[in-house]
C-alpha cells in the first residue's frame, strides 16, 4: 500500500485549518466550545469548577498529556492510573461513579454488555467521526477491503445497538461505545545479533532451535493469541477462528503447548512491560511476544532488537476511550469535550512518538514534523534523528520503521487481541498448562 491510501496523507501539511485550530485552542475553552454551545461566556464560567476524572493505565495516563489538557481545556482533568488491568476493570464495574472517562483495550468490552456502566457517545457529539479511519467506522481498510475479524476486531464492539447501551452492533449505528484512541500491530520481538538470520514466520516461536529461549506474554488474551498464530503457521492446528476457539481447538492448543512446556521450550511468561524488556535485554530470550514501546526501550539501551512483521500477519490491538453512564449536564458535556480534545492532534502525536497509531491521523499530522510523520506513519527512512516523546534519541537518521508504513503493518492483521466466548473454559485449561 502506498501513502496515498492514507486519507490523512491527502491533506496538505500544516493547513490553515490546523493552525486555526491550534489558535482556537490557545484562545481558551470558551472559543473552542463556541460551536457546540450557544453561550460561550456562560460556558467558560460554569465549567471552571468541573473536574473530569480519567481512569487509565500507565501507558495512557501520561502526565504530559494531563498537563496539556489542563492547559487547553477550561475545566480540570484528573488522570488516575490503575495499577493493573484487573484493578482497572474492577473499578469500572464496581465504582463507575468515581470515574468520568476511561480508556481501555476493546477486549475488555466483553465484560460490559448488559451492565449499563458505559455511556453511549452520540456520533454527532464526536467531532472527528468523519475523519476517523474506516477500520473503526466500518471495519474496512482505506482501499475498501475488509479487515480481519479473527479475535476482538474493532468493529465487533464499536457501536451499541441503541441508546440503552446494552449490546454491541456489528453494523454502524448512531451510538458509539467509545472514541477510538490508539491501535497498533504487534509482532515478535527478535534479537538479530543472537539469532543471526531473518525471522519471518510465527512458526519460529515453536522452532526447537530456540528451545528454552522464547517467551510468551502470561495469560490468555495475548499469550494464547500469539501461540495460536504460531501453531497455525506450523500447520499443527487448523482453526476456524483462532481468535475465538471452540473447546476442541482449546484442548488441542493446550495439549501441544503443554508438551512444549514439559520439554522446557518456554523460558518464561512475562506479566508486565519491564519484565519483557528485561528478558530481551538480558539475552534470556531470543524471541518473544512483545509490545512496540518495549522494543524501543531495549533499543535505547543500545541492544539490537527487531520487530518486523511475520508472513502470517500481525496481532492487532485497539484502545478506545469511553465515558461513564452516570454523567449528565455540564459534567457530561465536559467529558465529551475531553474525548474530542484527545483526538484533536496533540495527544495523538505524543503517543505516535511511542510507536502507536492514532485513529484520526489527519489531526495528528500537523503536530508532527515531516520527518516524524514520514518515519512513524509512512515507513520512510528518518531524515534526521527520531526522538521519543521525552526528547531522547531513539532512532538514528537513515533508519526506517520495522514493518514499514501504517497500512503495510495494520493492513496485515492475522489476529486481534481477544477474549474468547469460551473464556471460562480457556482460563481453566490455561491453568492446567501452567501447572504442567
Amino acid at each position: 500500500m502506498t501513502k496515498s491510501d492514507l486519507p490523512a496523507a491527502k491533506a496538505p501539511r500544516r493547513d490553515a485549518r490546523g493552525i486555526s485550530r491550534r489558535g482556537l485552542l490557545k484562545s481558551g475553552a470558551a472559543a473552542a466550545a463556541a460551536s457546540a454551545f450557544p453561550a460561550p461566556m456562560l460556558w467558560a464560567q460554569n465549567i471552571k469548577d468541573i473536574t473530569i476524572t480519567h481512569l487509565g493505565q500507565s501507558y495512557s495516563t501520561i502526565p504530559e498529556i494531563e498537563a496539556k489538557a489542563n492547559e487547553e481545556l477550561g475545566f480540570k482533568v484528573d488522570m488516575q492510573t490503575a495499577p493493573d488491568p484487573t484493578t482497572h476493570v474492577n473499578r469500572l464495574l464496581t465504582q463507575p461513579k468515581t470515574i468520568d472517562v476511561t480508556d481501555m483495550p476493546n477486549t475488555n468490552l466483553k465484560y460490559f454488555t448488559g451492565r449499563g456502566v458505559l455511556m453511549p457517545v452520540n456520533v454527532s457529539d464526536y467531532k472527528y467521526w468523519d475523519k476517523t479511519l474506516s477500520l473503526f467506522v466500518n471495519g474496512t481498510y482505506p482501499d475498501g477491503t475488509e479487515a480481519s475479524k479473527q479475535g476482538m476486531a474493532p468493529i465487533k464492539a464499536q457501536y451499541w445497538t441503541d441508546e440503552t447501551a446494552q449490546d454491541y452492533s456489528p453494523t454502524p449505528t448512531d451510538h458509539l461505545v467509545g472514541v477510538p484512541l490508539y491501535f497498533n500491530a504487534d509482532t515478535l520481538g527478535i534479537r538479530p545479533d543472537l539469532i543471526g538470520r531473518p525471522i519471518e514466520s510465527w512458526a519460529e516461536l515453536l522452532n526447537p532451535e530456540f528451545s528454552g529461549r522464547v517467551a510468551l506474554q502470561d495469560g490468555v488474551s495475548i499469550g494464547v493469541a500469539d501461540a495460536a498464530m504460531a501453531l497455525e503457521a506450523t500447520g499443527e492446528i487448523t482453526y476456524g477462528d483462532k481468535g475465538n476457539m471452540t473447546r476442541e481447538e482449546i484442548d488441542k492448543t493446550i495439549e501441544v503447548l503443554t508438551a512444549l512446556k514439559r520439554e522446557g521450550h518456554f523460558r518464561s511468561f512475562w506479566t508486565n512491560f519491564d519484565q519483557s524488556v528485561q528478558l530481551m535485554a538480558s539475552g534470556e530470550v531470543l524471541l518473544q511476544s512483545m509490545w512496540s514501546p518495549a522494543v524501543t526501550e531495549v533499543r535505547t539501551r543500545g541492544i539490537d532488537c527487531k520487530y518486523n512483521g511475520m508472513k502470517e500477519g500481525y496481532r492487532g490491538w485497539y484502545i478506545m476511550m469511553s465515558a461513564m453512564n452516570h454523567l449528565e449536564g455540564l459534567q457530561r458535556d465536559c467529558a465529551i469535550e475531553y474525548m474530542n480534545w484527545m483526538n484533536s492532534g496533540w495527544a495523538g502525536a505524543f503517543i505516535s512518538r511511542q510507536g502507536f497509531y492514532n485513529s484520526v491521523p489527519e489531526n495528528v499530522m500537523p503536530f508532527m514534523s515531516e520527518n516524524e510523520w514520514g518515519y512513524w506513519y509512512d515507513g520512510k527512512p528518518a531524515s534526521e534523528d527520531i526522538l521519543n516523546p521525552y526528547g531522547k534519541v531513539m532512532e538514528k537518521a537513515g533508519v526506517s520503521r520495522d514493518g514499514g508504513s501504517i497500512w503495510e503493518r495494520m493492513g496485515n492483521i492475522g489476529i486481534w487481541n481477544t477474549v474468547m466466548d469460551e473464556d471460562r473454559y480457556l482460563v481453566r485449561r490455561w491453568q492446567d498448562f501452567i501447572a504442567a
Partner: protein, 296 residues
C-alpha cells in the same frame, strides 16, 4: 459524694457482663470484616458465572472441579513440596544461626549488628529484591559465568532462573529470617543459670542443645513454621516472578481466576485454602502455646 455514687454502679455490673462488654467491640469488628465477607465468598463459590458476572443460580460444578480435579491435586502437591523443602532448610538453618547468635556471641553490640545485618536485605522493596535475582541466576548471570569460567559447565544453566529451583532459593532467602527471629526470641528467654547448671552437672554442648535448648525453643520454631507455612501457602508474587509464571501453585491459581474475573472458582479455591492453612496452623499450635509466648 462522687465516690459513693460511682462505686455502687461499678459493683452493679456482674463480672460476666463486663467480660462480654469488653470483647464486644472486637467481636463486632471481626464479625463485620471477617465472618461476613467470608460468608459472602462462600455463597459466591456456589454461583454460576461468566465474563465478570456472577449469576444468582446454583452451580455446583465449581466445587466438583475444585475438590476432584487433577489440577487441585497438582497445585497442592506443588505447594506442599515447596513448603516441605523450604522448612527442611530454613528450620535447622534458623535454629543454628539463632543458637550462634544467642550463645556464642558474648558481645551484645555484635549480636545487634549481626541481627540487623540479617534484616538489611528486607529494607529494599520486594520487586527490587526479585529483579536483582536475574543478574545473579540468569543465563548471563554471575553464577553461570562463574561456573563456565571455572570450566564446570560448557553452557549456561537455564534452570537457575525462572524455575522451581529459583522459587525455592527466593523462599529460603526470605523465610530464614522469621525462623531465626522466632528461635532467637525463645532462646533469649532461657535463663543463663539453667545453662550454667547443666554445664556444672557435666553436660556436653550437644547434650545441652538436644535436651535443654531444643525443647525450650520448640514453641519458637513452631511459630516460625506457622509464618513459613502461611507465607508459602499464600504466596503469589515470588512464585510468579521467580518461576517466570511457569509454576502453578494454589495461590497463583486463585490469582489467575481473579485476573480473568472468574469469582466463583477463586472463591471456592480460597475457602479450601483457608481450611487447609487453618488445619496446619491448629496442629502446629499444639507445639506452641502462643499466649504463653506472648506473655513472657
Amino acid at each position: 459524694m462522687l465516690s459513693s455514687q460511682t462505686s455502687p454502679s461499678r459493683a452493679a455490673i456482674p463480672p460476666k457482663l463486663a467480660s462480654v462488654l469488653q470483647v464486644t467491640p472486637m467481636a463486632l469488628v471481626f464479625l463485620l470484616l471477617v465472618i461476613v465477607p467470608l460468608g459472602l465468598i462462600f455463597v459466591v463459590s456456589f454461583l454460576d458465572y461468566n465474563f465478570a458476572q456472577v449469576f444468582p443460580e446454583l452451580y455446583l460444578e465449581t466445587w466438583v472441579d475444585v475438590l476432584t480435579s487433577d489440577l487441585t491435586l497438582a497445585l497442592y502437591l506443588k505447594t506442599f513440596k515447596f513448603l516441605v523443602i523450604v522448612w527442611v532448610i530454613t528450620a535447622p538453618l534458623g535454629f543454628a544461626i539463632a543458637y550462634f547468635l544467642a550463645f556464642h556471641l558474648r558481645s551484645t553490640w555484635l549480636r545487634t549488628l549481626l541481627v540487623t545485618a540479617i534484616a538489611i536485605p528486607f529494607w529494599t522493596s520486594g520487586p527490587i529484591r526479585m529483579v536483582s535475582w536475574v543478574p545473579l541466576l540468569g543465563r548471563e548471570g554471575v553464577v553461570n559465568q562463574a561456573l563456565m569460567g571455572m570450566g564446570i559447565t560448557d553452557e549456561p544453566l537455564g534452570w537457575l532462573m525462572y524455575s522451581e529451583f529459583a522459587v525455592l532459593v527466593a523462599y529460603v532467602q526470605m523465610l530464614t529470617m522469621p525462623m531465626i527471629a522466632t528461635a532467637l526470641n525463645s532462646m533469649a528467654k532461657i535463663p543463663p543459670s539453667v545453662i550454667q547448671a547443666a554445664q556444672d552437672a557435666g553436660a556436653s554442648e550437644w547434650q545441652i542443645v538436644r535436651d535443654l535448648i531444643f525443647p525450650l525453643v520448640r514453641p519458637g520454631l513452631a511459630i516460625g513454621t506457622i509464618i513459613v507455612t502461611t507465607a508459602i501457602m499464600g504466596d503469589v508474587v515470588m512464585v510468579k516472578f521467580m518461576g517466570g509464571s511457569q509454576v502453578n501453585t494454589v495461590g497463583m491459581s486463585i490469582i489467575t481466576d481473579l485476573n480473568a474475573f472468574m469469582y466463583p472458582p477463586a472463591a471456592a479455591k480460597s475457602i479450601l485454602l483457608l481450611v487447609v492453612v487453618l488445619s496446619i496452623v491448629i496442629s502446629l499450635l499444639r507445639f506452641a502455646d502462643i499466649r504463653k509466648e506472648l506473655r513472657s
